[in-house]
Symmetry: C2
Subunit: 299 residues, 2 copies
């Protein structure tokens, strides 16, 4: 699977993979679980979709740092009764996305699971020294932007859980090109991917930067699938997770285009010194709490 000019010098089949990193680059590493019953359900999503999303979770973290993904490592535990066909289709979805971004599947682990499909994806990426985008660089007055539209995954989840839909495949696109564009032009003061929901991921930027935020409800780009829920649409866009869009901040003096790498960019608010988050609807401010998907915190 190793490509020409790949950073992977040795892939699957030894105790470790071997990667060669360009001298001026730093190494980015992220790991993300995809657990059946927690992150996906086999009766709700196709195997290809589950494989795609498993890899997206990792690639999206690389995108948020403005990095170039290099290699993926998949630890995969399957129940004894999991059909080989399901596994083939899972890999097809994962490898199709990997190939689009020039990412080699360079290693991992396999095991039998006693309950459900358990996957953990580790991604190694690179960025030129000292240039990776972080959560901590935002300054008071910086504008807050998001890519694409929010709430599609949350809308699908609601339809599935109320049995208004039997199966729904969403293939989110990791915003690799947008992240790299922002990093190369040194436009973003901070960035994060929206995997846990806008409110929660914005709160991470605020915490890491020691700031608060004011968001204009009307400016939030709501996905058409979420808009169908009318009164609940805003909540889905604010707190629904797994959109894998990017949230970034930039100085008010910086010109940020309306689209980057073909993806719409929306300005949704700005950062403030006071360490609280506020949502403004029709001129009326109210406290905005982080109510997105929050796994138990690492202890």
């Amino acid at each position: 699977m190793t490509q020409r000019n790949s950073a992977v010098r040795l892939g699957i089949g030894d105790d470790c993979a071997i990667l060669r990193i360009a001298p001026g680059d730093e190494v980015l590493v992220t790991t993300d679980f995809s657990l059946e019953g927690v992150h996906f359900r086999r009766d709700w999503q196709s195997p290809e979709c589950i494989g795609h999303r498993c890899l997206t979770r990792g690639l999206s973290d690389i995108a948020a740092m403005g990095g170039r993904p290099v290699a993926a490592f998949l630890s995969l535990a399957l129940p004894a009764n999991c059909p080989a066909k399901w596994v083939d289709r899972f890999f097809r979805g994962l490898l199709k996305l990997a190939s689009r971004y020039g990412v080699d599947l360079a290693g991992g682990d396999t095991a039998q699971s006693s309950d459900g499909v358990l996957a953990d994806i580790a991604i190694v990426g690179t960025a030129p020294k000292g240039t990776a985008l972080r959560r901590s660089g935002a300054r008071p007055g910086d504008s807050i932007y998001v890519t694409g539209a929010l709430g599609e995954s949350a809308a699908a989840l609601r339809q599935l859980s109320t049995q208004k839909s039997k199966r729904r495949d969403i293939f989110p696109e990791p915003r690799i090109a947008v992240g790299q564009w922002l990093r190369e032009r040194e436009i973003a003061s901070a960035a994060i991917d929206i995997s846990d929901g806008l409110s929660t991921d914005l709160s991470h930027i605020c915490e890491e930067s020691g700031l608060g935020a004011v968001i204009e409800a009307a400016a939030i780009p709501i996905h058409p699938a979420a808009r169908r829920f009318r009164k609940q649409a805003l909540e889905l866009a604010l707190h629904g997770g797994e959109d894998y869009e990017l949230l970034f901040t930039a100085s008010g003096r910086t010109a940020v285009p309306q689209a980057i790498a073909g993806v719409t960019i929306s300005k949704i608010g700005h950062l403030v010194k006071r360490k609280t988050m506020t949502l403004v609807t029709n001129g009326q401010p109210r406290a905005l709490k982080a109510e997105g998907w929050e796994h138990f915190r690492a202890r």
Copy 2:
């Protein structure tokens, strides 16, 4: 947790960790599951022991390549009812070992699991370009060596499963120093860690090197805990997994010391062109099959 002079420039708390690699080094990556009910049982091992072994699984792969471990990434899913005290003790065991080898816990993921404690450890290490030990370099006539003694974990497992013992903590030591010693002196033609059992891991060296092997039963270093099983002792040492010793090969002309970095080295056989494995007991040869711990093969 980042140490002075650490390769970790940014640890837990952003979308990715950032590592800085010395220009002459290559990057080694390995991932390993530790799943409750598959790799450990909470009623059989202490939390400290489970944490220690979780990290050992990864460090041992770095050792087998002769690498220096740099950073660890832990994806950890816990059942809702898992006591905080258990988690604290798990981390204590893991971090104690990490600290001994100068490894930073630089990131990972957390989730709630629907069944059992699920851990996946990813380790990033380094080795000077082109020097990492591989499974594929062995040549016909090369001698086969193992570190330490084999069968302790298998003996404990047998005692636990027959309820002759209620709890048994074994803290295997990853053979980092031995691996580095072998790499620096260019002594080993191939290497692997014995995580799945001598017979299975030897078969990997044979397959990757396109060779077969002849092993002297009397030369296999059997751990005292396994020797207590008398007639079954050899089987435990041959096929029992999770010893985390190293198996390496070296030219017959190379002088290999009887101990490296304080660890006993035993010569147990040699490689042959014919692609089968043979066990010789009291001068009588018989076929040796890979009967160690074998997860379902990656597809």
